[in-house]
């Protein structure tokens, strides 16, 4: 049952309809029995009336609109009749109620013997007319039950919708919460059934907030504390470089290891800084094209080191954003592109506007990413085996997680597709445009 409201309305209405209608049918059967008793009583009263009134003079008629018929017999002589053309008795002369087929119809009959005048009085009524009359009266009584069902349905819908309003409000509040909003859920009027749910949700939120804060601060503090010893290590490495040959393999590996640790620590700090509470207050209007130009210039040495060609295309486009975060986003995307593109490869950055959006596209001529891996690459510490020999490119696996965090904070979405080069990947970050 996908919707509680739909289930409650449909099931309640079905039960109400079923029981009401079955009760109406039972009422119909009972009423029909009672109506038959009344009709029979009418037959008897009519017979007794005819017996009393008849004193040798024929009675012309009871009532012009009566559905009853009668015959008065003395022996084999028909003394009087009403409602029947034929001169044969409607039924046999046995006192009491019965049924007879006569003149093409089915009749309910009563044979009454008047001992004083020795007359046989037969009163009769066509059963089809009886049913028609009874049915018309009873079905008029049932009709309101039938017509009340749509009205009952409407009322049930209103009542159930009103009853489920607190649940809907709770779900709406949870749905509208921002990713970083772990504040307690507050409902204007807390129903007893929802009290426990609300308390449990708020307790969970509180625990989650404490745990997340602890994790964030631990990461940030640890990264910050590691910066000083790493800087000391770098100085020692610089000093060591003067004493030993720079081609020494152990020395080269040591320097590469220290560089990796430094990169990891910087990325961990970037990850911490890209969290909502660190960035939300630094938004301003930024020319994304100009920012991209600055970052490309900043990373010029990196591209030159691998003889890569980095180009910028497009036009100046304004967006609302955090300059530091967007610089980090560009740095990570471009560093990634450079890292995965072989020496002599191409990197193309395009900033352009389309209707109400501004897009930043970073394309490389690297080996590319398989579509089934698109979701994986944004996970923390995730690196793909994308080298021809199955090995991974060195890195800490945090770059794209930071990119996604920053994009989320700017309410931008990220799309991945094949690049315009022979091989490679294109990362497209789509922002909402700010009027120039």
């Amino acid at each position: 049952m996908r919707s509680i409201r739909l289930f409650l309305i449909a099931a309640t209405l079905a039960v109400l309809t079923l029981f009401n209608f079955v009760a109406a049918l039972q009422g119909y059967s009972s009423s029909l029995k009672e109506a038959n008793k009344l009709f029979d009583q009418h037959l008897r009263q009519t017979a007794e009336l005819i017996a009393r009134l008849y004193a040798g003079h024929p009675i012309k008629s009871l009532d012009d609109e009566s559905t009853l018929a009668y015959q008065v017999w003395r022996g084999q002589e028909l003394l009087a009749s009403f409602g029947i053309e034929h001169t044969q008795p409607i039924t046999d002369f046995y006192p009491g109620f019965g049924h007879a087929n006569f003149d093409g119809y089915r009749w309910r009959t009563l044979v009454y013997y008047d001992q004083d005048h020795r007359n046989w009085i037969i009163t009769a009524e066509r059963t089809d007319l009886r049913y028609q009359l009874a049915e018309s009266v009873i079905s008029h009584a049932i009709l309101p039950i039938l017509l009340s069902i749509p009205l009952a349905g409407l009322l049930i819908w209103l009542i159930i919708s009103h009853g489920l309003k607190p649940l809907r409000m709770l779900s709406q509040q949870l749905k509208n919460k921002q990713a970083d909003d772990l504040s307690p859920v507050v409902l204007p009027e807390l129903k007893s059934e929802l009290q426990q749910v609300s308390q449990s949700i708020n307790a969970l939120m509180s625990r989650l907030e404490v745990a997340l804060n602890r994790e964030k601060h631990f990461t940030a503090d640890a990264a910050h504390e590691l910066r000083t010893p790493i800087s000391a290590l770098k100085i020692q490495l610089h000093n060591l470089e003067e004493d030993i040959s720079p081609d020494n393999e152990a020395f080269q590996q040591l320097r590469a290891g220290v560089d990796r640790i430094q990169h990891l620590v910087e990325q961990l700090l970037s990850l911490y800084r890209s969290t909502p509470e660190q960035l939300a207050h630094n938004f301003c209007r930024i020319n994304l094209h100009q920012l991209a130009q600055e970052v490309i210039a900043e990373l010029h040495d990196k591209f030159e080191g691998k003889q890569q060609i980095a180009e910028l295309a497009g036009q100046p486009c304004m967006i609302e954003g955090d300059p530091f975060a967007l610089t980090t986003l560009l740095q990570n995307l471009l560093s990634n592109a450079s890292k995965y593109t072989p020496a002599g490869g191409h990197i193309l950055v395009t900033v352009n506007a389309e209707e109400n959006t501004v897009y930043l596209k970073v394309e490389d001529s690297g080996p590319g990413i398989a579509p089934e891996d698109y979701d994986k690459i944004f996970k923390r510490f995730q690196r793909l085996n994308n080298k021809p020999d199955g090995s991974t490119t060195p890195g800490c696996g945090l770059g794209l997680t930071i990119v996604r965090n920053i994009a989320d904070l700017h309410r931008a979405r990220i799309e991945i597709e094949r690049s315009c080069f022979e091989s490679g990947t294109a990362f497209i970050v789509i922002f909402t445009r700010t009027e120039d």
């Binding site: 309809t17 079923l18 049918l25 119909y28 049915e135 079905s139 009709l143 039938l146």
Partner: protein, 265 residues
């Protein structure tokens, strides 16, 4: 007219509502899109209209046995579709699952055409008798209300069963409806002398008359008959076994292919 109307409309609506409820639950269990339901309803409505308009002509076919033969044919076709639904819903093959919405749609369309045509003809005929219109339509409303309510409650009732029982219960109910289709088709073919008369097996009309509400409910759900003939009972058994055996075969096939895949790994 009121009671006749209740009985006729209840019987037709109840049969269709129970079949649709079971198929909807089965489709939900198999995570199929419910679009087949709308298609089946629309096709069924069109089918009912076409059938009701042409039923007088059809009844003159085959030496005035056309109507009975056609209705029996529709019932046998529904039985065939239920057999395929039973087989495919338990099968592991993707192609089998893929064809299920089409089968369900046709099954609902055929059932609705048959039931709908009878309702249209009955209510259309009543319109000529002014004095009977009000009791007849009141009765039709009562009958339709009871039938639809029973369908809705069966749907929610099946969904409220423990998850592992829902599928088996749906297949069992489809097998019972399959038996009913076969039994009713045999009765119709007996009426036009296409199947020989056979002795009545029992008479339970005193205990549970067919025209009572429980009688109608049981007729629609398990094909209850107060005075079934021998051939009807045999046909019922065949219809029931066809659907249940096909579902079992589908399940065995599923089980075998799963075991094979596990073995290969």
């Amino acid at each position: 007219m009121f009671l006749n109307s209740v009985v006729l409309i209840l019987q037709e609506i109840l049969e269709a509502a129970l079949l649709i409820s079971i198929l909807l639950v089965l489709s939900r269990q198999l995570q199929l899109s419910a679009r087949w339901f709308a298609t089946g309803m629309i096709l069924g409505g069109i089918g009912a209209f076409i059938l009701s308009v042409n039923l007088a002509t059809i009844s003159e076919w085959l030496d005035y046995a056309g109507q009975e033969i056609l209705i029996a044919g529709i019932m046998i076709a529904v039985l065939g579709l239920l057999t395929l639904i039973g087989l495919y819903s338990t099968s592991a093959l993707w192609a089998s699952r893929h064809s299920l919405p089409y089968l369900m749609s046709i099954c609902v369309a055929l059932a609705l055409s048959r039931e709908g045509a009878e309702i249209v003809i009955y209510l259309g005929g009543i319109l000529n008798h002014q004095e009977s219109v009000q009791p007849t339509f009141t009765g039709a409303g009562i009958g339709a209300g009871i039938g639809l309510s029973a369908g809705v409650l069966l749907y929610f009732g099946l969904l409220s069963l423990p998850a592992r029982w829902i599928f088996c219960t749906c297949i069992l109910l489809l097998a019972l409806i399959g038996g009913t289709m076969a039994s009713q088709a045999t009765l119709l073919l007996t009426q036009v002398d296409w199947v020989a008369y056979s002795p009545v097996l029992w008479d339970s009309s005193i205990w549970l008359p067919e025209d009572s509400i429980p009688g109608h409910l049981l007729y629609a759900l398990v094909g209850y008959e107060a005075t079934p003939s021998l051939f009807q009972a045999i046909a019922y058994g065949i219809g029931f076994l066809l659907v249940s055996i096909s579902a079992t075969l589908g399940y065995l096939n599923h089980f075998r292919s799963r075991r094979k895949n596990t073995g290969e790994k």
